[in-house]
Symmetry: C2
Subunit: 339 residues, 2 copies
């Protein structure tokens, strides 16, 4: 299935929070600002302004919609929407350093262009900025929003650490994988999908439903990401095809394949256990093996189940009708981008 037309909330979110992001980066020292605005796709490596790419801004879109979902103005969610995007970008900047990833969104990563130190600093600065944006918000519930952001930050870090510890292992259970993914990816979507409702002082039950929606959306999203990490083309993923296999990542399809009793499963287990660098042919061969075990279909099925759970969560408490439909639509769009 090809991606349908981009939902409106996704299109408008990036421009809605743009001024907040711009004010944030303008408050940084020039060296940090350059790294941050390069990472955002606003500047080239030399620091010249370029036409900003249309980012997905999924997290800000969720944040803005979550205020509307409890019947309030989306403007009340503005700081929250900017904060989750800043927190997301901080994790990307640090992840790229940790994983030594050299490409993101089809461009060299920040550490490749500016060095490891500058990329770490820029990430740290964005994490602090996310916090400040909320501290400066006028909402009497800003502290609650800050708590949610802090929790998301802690969970993402724990998830990243777990993910790294899984690399090259064949014995990671699907349960352990799911706990990792709900931390690494679910936690920030959970925060994004509820932070606007918190700032708008929505009912507790509605906030909880929105948060659960976010967690399951995160699990669905991670399954899609893992699928793309093997079968996505460069245009969809922005990095070389087969990179998850090359890195021996314990991704969902790879774990499913490694759990298979078939000959293909045994080949994948051997590959994960070995330390030798993989040639292009090895990666192609491994991709075929993973497909042979049916792990691709299982991964797609997991993403669909989690998507249903996410949408189901939205029915568990009172939410305004139109924003609720928009949240469902957004979730489907985010998940069906691949197949």
């Amino acid at each position: 299935m090809k991606p349908r037309q981009t939902p409106k909330p996704l299109e408008s979110a990036a421009s809605t929070i743009g001024p907040k992001l711009a004010a944030g980066s303008a408050s940084l020292n020039p060296g940090l600002r350059r790294v941050v605005e390069y990472h955002w796709g606003w500047r080239d490596p030399e620091g010249n302004r370029i036409e900003a790419r249309k980012g997905k801004a999924l997290r800000p879109a969720l944040g803005l919609l979550s205020a509307e979902a409890v019947g309030e103005e989306r403007d009340l969610a503005l700081s929250g929407a900017a904060a989750v995007e800043m927190l997301h970008d901080y994790t990307l900047l640090h992840d790229d350093v940790m994983d030594r990833d050299e490409e993101r969104r089809g461009r060299p990563t920040a550490w490749v262009v500016f060095g490891t130190g500058a990329a770490i600093c820029a990430g740290d600065a964005l994490a602090a900025l996310a916090q400040r944006v909320l501290l400066e918000d006028a909402s009497p519930r800003r502290e609650g929003a800050l708590r949610a952001l802090c929790k998301a930050n802690e969970d993402v870090i724990a998830g990243q650490m777990l993910d790294a510890s899984f690399e090259g292992r064949v014995d990671v259970s699907i349960g352990a994988y799911t706990r990792m993914a709900s931390l690494k990816t679910g936690a920030l979507l959970r925060c994004s999908a509820s932070i606007g409702a918190i700032l708008a002082d929505g009912p507790e039950a509605s906030i909880a439903a929105l948060a659960d929606f976010g967690t399951h959306l995160g699990l669905a999203f991670q399954a899609v990401d893992d699928w793309l990490g093997i079968w996505g083309d460069r245009e969809q993923v922005g990095k070389p095809i087969g990179s998850d296999l090359r890195q021996r990542k314990a991704s969902l399809p790879i774990l499913h394949a490694a759990a298979s009793s078939s000959a293909a499963g045994e080949e994948i287990r051997c590959l994960l256990r070995s330390d030798d660098p993989l040639s292009e042919e090895d990666v192609e061969r491994a991709t075929d093996c993973v497909a042979d075990t049916g792990a691709g279909e299982v991964t797609v099925a997991v993403s669909k189940v989690e998507l249903e759970r996410a949408i189901g969560a939205l029915d568990r408490a009172w939410l305004a009708n139109h924003p609720r439909s928009q949240l469902s639509e957004l979730a489907e769009f985010a998940i069906r981008r691949a197949y």
Copy 2:
């Protein structure tokens, strides 16, 4: 001048905040906890508990005293004292990665033992933990404390970025250096010396005086650190002697030497401009050159002037007598550790 007996507040601070730190690290995932507790000197690289070294705990000591200085119980400052120590340790973990420093306090740095990714994650986790500790505090002024901590974090990052941009440069003005040092080192001591007073809801003028005390103490402290970076022995500094010259850091004595019109000054300028790695003889020779310009005496004088300013700031607003004396004593001790 040899260090006198360690002041009591410094000795007791580490044990006072110990349980808060322990509860914090116990809440982390096991992988992160291991890195953090290794960094604190509580565990060896294999994860076995070792007898904790007596840390300096200067920042927690300042935090605790600042509550007493506005006439309140030091217990009110407990979260603040733990938070500034966690923030400090986060900056150290990241700095060591950025500077590729392989030794701290006479032990291999965390990234050397656990890898770059784990050290970055552990730093991120401590930054988040510092924030959470304050969010969980019962004080009605916890948000003010959080603002102070966030500001300190932003300033430290900006200072670190500036410091890195100075490396190898001979044209950094003393004014630019001082602004950098007041961010990199002054900001967190400013926060430490006032956070307890904020949490204890002290008078604004007293909080401001304590904050200024911290800034100037930071400048004095940095001057001493820079002095030790050239003339300190391994036991005092915990890393190889002459490392600042080897790294061509724009430290205070090196900048003063590079500004000298003497032949020794010219040698230092040449050394800073070149890219060649320095032999042990080069470093020794450069050390002599820096000394020749009188930069050592200037650096000592700067630290004394800033120390006086720090102590002077304590007289600018009402503070309780005994804690004020203890703050002065602590400042003198921290500065006179070297000479």
